[in-house]
């Protein structure tokens, strides 16, 4: 029989306000095996831990149950404390009476009853706990960064700076991401290219960094410290090592009518292209959807003029296998396409554009060489209307948009308005907003400058309708402060569309077994205290893939993620989780069900000799688990039909004992 001590934490008033902690301690003191039961204000505090350690000593405890917050918070704390008293750390169990009880119940009687039940379940489990010993696993000293935007670039540079190898996998032919498309940046109005491209060059020149451009992550295996990743290098039909980036092919290619996504499809490029002048790597790629040679076999102009002989029409996708110790998701975002918002006429009127399209129309390297012209007739616009929150801050039921604030639109719209008024003083600029949100260093000053110094008309209210009439955009809107209906004849309308996570993120999250929220943003391990780590060990988050952010925030978070990666890669060994699977050979059928579901490849089979009846021997095929590779996910234990596979620390019997304890009430 175990000698179990039970410790009920008040968590200040977090638990004690809803759960009668004294009653729980009293009720649990009568459970079989419980020799000590008490409550304390903060069990995780130094004095709380001392209380626990003294009790272990005095009462010769063999098992401990702490009724407190989620084990994610303090399981490690309590295990360490128990270990200092010579108790095996895996003899400590947590009953979560905060997240699972006090925070979700209002009625004290109900909450107290549930706390007792969860306590009983933990006690029932401790009775079956066995001391476990953790092993060690090595760390591959290389990191993978998925996504080569400013977030991925900064993370990679910082990791490389610390002396570790980094690979960047970028699905486009160049790194740079969204920032490369932006014209100027708030609140200082420096040119995005001017500050980004030197960093891109740094990446290219850094010996520790390898760029897999035009590539995607195909599969991820392994675990923290030991990931094995398959990277698909998509065929670009140009040999990377040979191409000098001279760009001659991109001028001579006869296929001129290819939409140019870098310029938001506002102009065209050739079938062979370099996305923009400062691309890294500066290597051309052929768009197979448009290339006449690849489609019909007749052309070959680029191949003929390429002095370097870099064109290879036969190129195939290539899979590269690489090993990593840590992985950073930096998959970024896209602006929401507002084609569902018929009221703003985006799909029908070419002069209704999104903010990112406007960035290109104002950019010196853009389709208009930096002169702001209406897309429809290339004339100078005099009246511009900006609409805020298109697809942001929507009701949960609204399927067109997102419930969250996209955070960056208020600032970039103020920037757009200001830049237009500065360059074209003959314009009138209106901004329709719900709220203007400008927290951030020098942000509100920036917005006020737009209003006070540049005379931008800020109107609290939403635009109801935009229709095109005789070359003008008739904008109907309401001014909520004056209560008036407004009719504005505009030349251009700019929609500040919501930020949405890149479509590839969900697939990547699945491969990484990293969790996501309902909006497909990656979830952090702790919203406040572990914002750059995913709940999956060894997976880190950088940039907008975790939530909307502006550039300075993205860069800070990218460096923070890098710091976490460096901390991990600096270690030579990682302590393994001892809660791993093991197979009972006497029960194993050798059916391979476990092997098939194991995501880590930890299970192997071999033929073994067993004693049969009447002094015979039987050869049976049985499973064995490589404990250094097993991550204790438990998939095999449920796949096993005979119950031969079990998980240490979470055995079927332990779980059933918990269920029984709960059902006894």
């Amino acid at each position: 029989m175990q000698r179990i001590g039970v410790f009920i934490c008040h968590c200040g008033t977090n638990i004690a306000a809803t759960v009668d902690v004294k009653a729980v301690a009293e009720a649990l003191s009568h459970e079989p095996g419980v020799v000590f039961s008490t409550d304390y204000q903060y069990m995780c505090s130094e004095s709380g831990q001392t209380l626990m350690r003294e009790a272990i000593r005095e009462h010769k405890l063999t098992g401990v149950v702490v009724c407190s917050c989620s084990p994610r918070m303090h399981e490690a704390t309590f295990r360490k404390a128990a270990e200092k008293e010579g108790l095996n750390p895996y003899m400590v169990e947590i009953a979560n009476i905060r997240e699972q009880v006090s925070w979700i119940h209002k009625d004290m009687k109900e909450a107290t009853e549930k706390a007792v039940i969860l306590g009983r379940a933990a006690i029932a489990k401790v009775h079956l706990n066995k001391p476990l010993k953790a092993g060690e696993s090595p760390v591959t000293k290389r990191a993978l960064v998925i996504g080569g935007g400013i977030a991925g670039i900064q993370t990679a540079l910082d990791i490389a700076e610390a002396g570790f190898e980094v690979d960047i996998v970028e699905k486009e032919p160049t790194i740079g991401g969204k920032m490369a498309q932006i014209d100027k940046t708030f609140p200082t109005l420096d040119c995005a290219a001017y500050i980004l491209t030197p960093k891109m060059v740094d990446v290219a020149q850094n010996e520790k960094i390898k760029i897999f451009s035009y590539s995607e992550v195909e599969a991820v295996k392994g675990f923290v410290g030991n990931f094995k990743v398959s990277i698909r290098k998509k065929a670009r039909y140009v040999i990377e090592d040979k191409c000098t980036g001279c760009g001659l092919c991109t001028e001579k290619c006869p296929q001129k009518k290819v939409p140019n996504p870098f310029n938001m499809n506002l102009d065209t490029r050739r079938a062979i292209y370099i996305p923009f002048a400062q691309a890294v790597p500066k290597v051309a790629a052929i768009d197979a959807d448009y290339c006449t040679m690849l489609k019909t076999g007749k052309c070959g102009v680029c191949s003929k003029i390429c002095a370097a002989g870099a064109i290879d029409y036969q190129q195939k996708d290539e899979i590269v296998e690489r090993e990593y110790g840590a992985i950073v998701a930096a998959t970024g975002f896209n602006p929401l396409k507002p084609d569902k918002y018929n009221e703003y006429g985006y799909s029908t009127c070419p002069d209704v554009v999104t903010s990112l399209e406007l960035e290109r129309l104002m950019n010196a390297a853009g389709p208009t060489a930096g002169t702001l012209l209406r897309p429809s007739d290339k004339t100078h616009p005099h009246t511009l209307v900006f609409v805020q929150c298109v697809g942001s801050r929507c009701d949960a039921e609204n399927e067109k948009g997102k419930p969250y604030c996209s955070k960056i639109c208020c600032m970039y719209t103020a920037k757009h308005a200001m830049l237009i008024r500065e360059k074209y003083p003959d314009t009138e600029v209106y901004v329709f907003y719900i709220d203007v949100r400008t927290p951030g260093k020098n942000f509100d000053e920036f917005y006020r400058r737009a209003v006070e110094q540049y005379g931008v008309h800020y109107i609290k209210g939403q635009v109801g309708k935009v229709v095109e009439e005789n070359g003008k955009l008739k904008v109907q809107a309401s001014d909520l402060l004056s209560g008036e209906q407004l009719h504005i004849d505009a030349d251009m309308v700019v929609l500040a569309t919501a930020v949405e996570p890149d479509k590839s993120a969900r697939g990547i999250a699945t491969m990484l077994t990293a969790s996501m929220d309902t909006n497909d943003f990656f979830t952090e391990a702790h919203a406040k205290l572990r914002p750059v780590e995913s709940p999956t060990a060894g997976i880190f988050l950088s940039g907008v893939c975790q939530g909307p952010k502006d550039i300075p925030e993205t860069v800070s978070q990218a460096s923070a993620a890098a710091a976490k990666v460096i901390g991990l890669l600096a270690k030579d060994k990682l302590t393994c989780n001892p809660c791993v699977a093991n197979s009972d050979e006497m029960l194993c059928n050798g059916c391979s069900s476990c092997e098939k579901v194991c995501p880590y490849g930890a299970i192997t089979y071999s033929d073994k000799e067993f004693r049969g009846p009447n002094r015979t021997t039987l050869i049976r095929r049985v499973a064995s688990v490589n404990e250094a590779v097993c991550q204790g996910c438990g998939a095999c234990t449920v796949a096993c039909p005979s119950g031969a596979m079990d998980l240490k620390g979470f055995s079927n019997r332990q779980i059933m004992a918990e269920v029984d304890a709960i059902c006894k009430m």
Binding site: G507, T510, M511, M586, L587, C588, N589, G590, C591, S592, S593, K596, V597, P599, Y605, L618, I619, R620, R621, A639, P641, S642, G643, A644, N652, R653, M656, A657
Partner: protein, 323 residues
Amino acid sequence: MQKMMEKRALELLGDGTVNRVLGWSAGDFIYDVTPAVFKTAEEVQDKFLYNDFCGANLSKYLVKESRKEGKILVFLKPCDTYSFNQLIAEHRIIRENIYAIGVECFGKADEEKLRAKGITGITGIEMKDGTYTVHTVYGDETVKAYEVMADRCLSCKSKKHVAYDELLGSEGEVVEDCNRFDMVEKLEAMTPDERYEFWRGELSRCIRCNACRNICPACTCEQCVFDNPNSGVSQKAAVNSFEENMFHIIRAFHVAGRCTDCGECSRVCPQHIPLHLLNRKFIKDVNTFYGEYQAGENPEAKPPLGKYEKNDIEPGEAGGAKA
């Protein structure tokens, strides 16, 4: 057919290709057919039997037999070949030690249905053009095959042999329109309360004879969880009749995705519980949520419940019981 099978068995025994034959022999009555292993030519000549009562699926016997010394000859009906393949996929039988001969099957007769028709004292049966001629001690009787055929044969999913070394007769074809999920659909249309009543009614007859488990080709565990005192469930099933009913639910979960729908569980149930319906519900759900899948059709195929794909259905999308 019996003559041809006997001839091949004698030849293969004679030339040493195999040292045993797995087939059927008659019990006390001609319809009371039982699987049997024959070791000599004499035994084959004496006792080997193949008729329209030979419904038993022989593949499960190979779990033990294929581990013995020498090769064994087995006769497999089309539906048995699916179980055979599934057992190969699960590494439960050793293919190299088996010589499999596929035999045609047009559906097996149900002795109880014959008896219900007033046909007793049966001494033999023959089928021709969809009609059984039943020899009895009172003279011959004829009856339309579909009237007395086993239920599982009336909704036969496939007359195709998916595994064999040799065929006697044609390879056969998959039955496209077998309507085997009709009853499952009826059960799905019920309210949860109605369904609960239906199953309580059926399962309350269970006497826990374990015949369903012992016959099931998917139930080949070295030790069944219900026989394992450490599993924590073996004794639970004896607590009360409701817990006992859970035996069948648990068993259905254990064979989910692996059950080939051979129908042996319902055939051997002395209490006539339609156990196969539990398995068919799983098969139908697997088909709906993961695409058409027939366990045992291809031993190389990855089982839908044992693999993961990115476009797999999310648990929330599958929906629960209709409230």
